[in-house]
């Protein structure tokens, strides 16, 4: 964990995209951020809420919550 990099970065806007595209975008973007950083994903596909959580579980990343409708936060943990 890097203490200075725990705030949200620029959101990843995947609104209008069908699953699995938001999950693919998340998987591409997150490794570009430092460990500890939080990425906010905006996605309105009905499967996004479930599949972003499932991706975090499968890839060992942290699902940090849904602060607003169609918004999901993921923390890079490794």
């Amino acid at each position: 964990m890097t203490g200075s990099m725990t705030g949200p970065t620029e959101p990843l806007d995947c609104r209008g995209q069908r699953c699995p595209l938001p999950v693919i975008a998340l998987a591409r973007r997150l490794p570009e951020l430092p460990v500890g950083a939080v990425l906010r994903v905006l996605a309105d596909d009905p499967a996004a809420a479930n599949d972003i959580r499932a991706w975090c579980r499968m890839r060992g990343q942290e699902f940090a919550g849904s602060p607003a409708p169609d918004a999901y936060e993921v923390r890079r943990t490794r």
């Binding site: 699953c19 999950v23 998987a27 499967a47 479930n50 599949d51 959580r53 499932a54 579980r57 499968m58």
Partner: protein, 394 residues
């Protein structure tokens, strides 16, 4: 290798075309979607032909051909009752499994005023009925399932003991992920609370023993190798239920009922041997897919499951694209991914379990499925998944 005759095709109106000729692959077609509908059992085919010849009259009329039709109907009812170990007068035939559920829910005394309890992973027919119940001012209590798709028994017990509950619904095993439910314990809780329990056993009847303790049982003939268009509803004596008038979906045709009963008796007789043959094939799929396909989640209970059904989800894949790729290679499978549903919503079952819903494939085997077919599927799958991922740039 069987050829599934599925209707008129290029050969001209009314001339059946073997399924294998309808796929572009040089390989014969492999049908892995028994959970949607198993191929017609040969015994059902014979019974259907005989009953079309002999059972065309209205069994309610008072002349010789009608009496013959009546005898066939009575024999079919007796065969179903014997196989399910119930009384003949507890068995009703409906126009489909869906109609059986609707008749079950519509006939329970006072159900319109009662609270309904159901698992979160019931068949959509039950969930749609629950939606209507709420729209009419009723109350429903969905009970969650765990990651393996097993109903939360503590929550179930608490829910059925709530005041005002008049009906509980729990499927015997999930048609989407194969997990067998703890039905005996769930039924015991219902018995304690005095709540009638509706068990949708569509995926269990004719394959595995039906759990005890239910009040109303639902089945669908095409799942056990009978013809489509026949549902079975069994209501135990003493359950506060009367048949809705008219029966939703109407009465099924007599020849189809005769064929359904013949198929059920045959399937139930073969079930122990078939389960012993298919369960290791499903184990092989579960182990091989997990080992050979990267980023895959094999879903459902690995041991407490139906013998013939397995579901897995491949990360980053569009379920529809995977189904089409498999179809082009001659494999007919199903998917719970949102892109394959008419509503564009992911499967409520996968969602309730919290497992990946995109890139989802359900494989369900039947009496004509072979180890060679399974091996060919397993040999082709990793390459198809890798190809689609490469196209998507992942």
């Amino acid at each position: 290798m069987a050829e599934y005759r599925i209707g008129a095709g290029a050969g001209g109106l009314g001339r059946p075309v073997p399924y294998r000729r309808m796929v572009s692959s040089a390989q014969p077609a492999v049908y892995f979607d028994a959970a949607a509908g198993a191929p017609l059992h040969p015994v059902a085919r014979q019974a259907l032909a005989a009953a079309l010849e002999d059972g065309w009259a209205d069994p309610a009329k008072l002349y010789a051909p009608a009496r013959r039709a009546r005898q066939l109907l009575d024999a079919a009812r007796a065969a179903v009752a014997e196989t399910l170990r119930v009384r003949e007068d507890e068995v009703y035939f409906t126009g489909s499994g869906t109609a059986a559920v609707q008749a079950a829910l519509g006939g329970v005394t006072g159900a319109d005023r009662a609270v309904w309890v159901h698992s979160a992973i019931e068949h959509s027919v039950v969930l749609h009925a629950a939606d209507r119940h709420r729209a009419d001012g009723g109350e429903t209590v969905p009970v969650p399932v765990d990651r393996l798709g097993r109903v939360d028994l503590a929550a179930w017990r608490a829910a059925v003991h709530r005041p005002g509950v008049g009906l509980a619904a729990l499927l015997s095993a999930s048609h989407e992920v194969g997990t067998v439910q703890p039905a005996a314990a769930a039924a015991a809780a219902c018995a304690e609370a005095g709540v009638p329990l509706l068990v949708d056993a569509a995926q269990s009847i004719g394959r595995v023993p039906v759990p005890a303790g239910w009040s109303i049982l639902i089945g669908s003939a095409r799942k056990w190798g009978g013809p489509s268009g026949v549902g079975v509803l069994v209501v135990r004596k003493g359950v506060p239920w009367s048949p809705p008038e008219p029966l939703p979906g109407g009465q099924p045709g007599l020849p189809a009922v005769v064929a359904a009963a013949a198929a059920l008796r045959a399937a139930a007789g073969e079930a122990p041997a078939e389960a012993a043959r298919l369960a290791p094939l499903v184990d092989r799929i579960r182990a091989t897919v997990a080992a050979t396909v990267p980023d895959v989640e094999v879903v459902g209970d690995p041991t407490d499951r139906l013998p013939h059904l397995v579901t897995f989800s491949c990360l980053y894949l569009d379920g529809e694209a995977l189904l089409h790729a498999l179809d082009r290679r001659g494999f007919a499978v199903s998917s719970g991914s949102s892109c394959t549903s008419s509503t564009l919503r992911p499967s409520h079952v996968l969602e309730a379990m919290g497992v990946l819903s995109h890139g989802n494939v359900r494989v369900s085997l039947h009496r004509e499925s072979t180890g060679e077919q399974v091996d060919r599927f397993l040999a082709e799958l990793p390459g198809l998944v890798a190809g689609l991922r490469a196209e998507a740039g992942v």
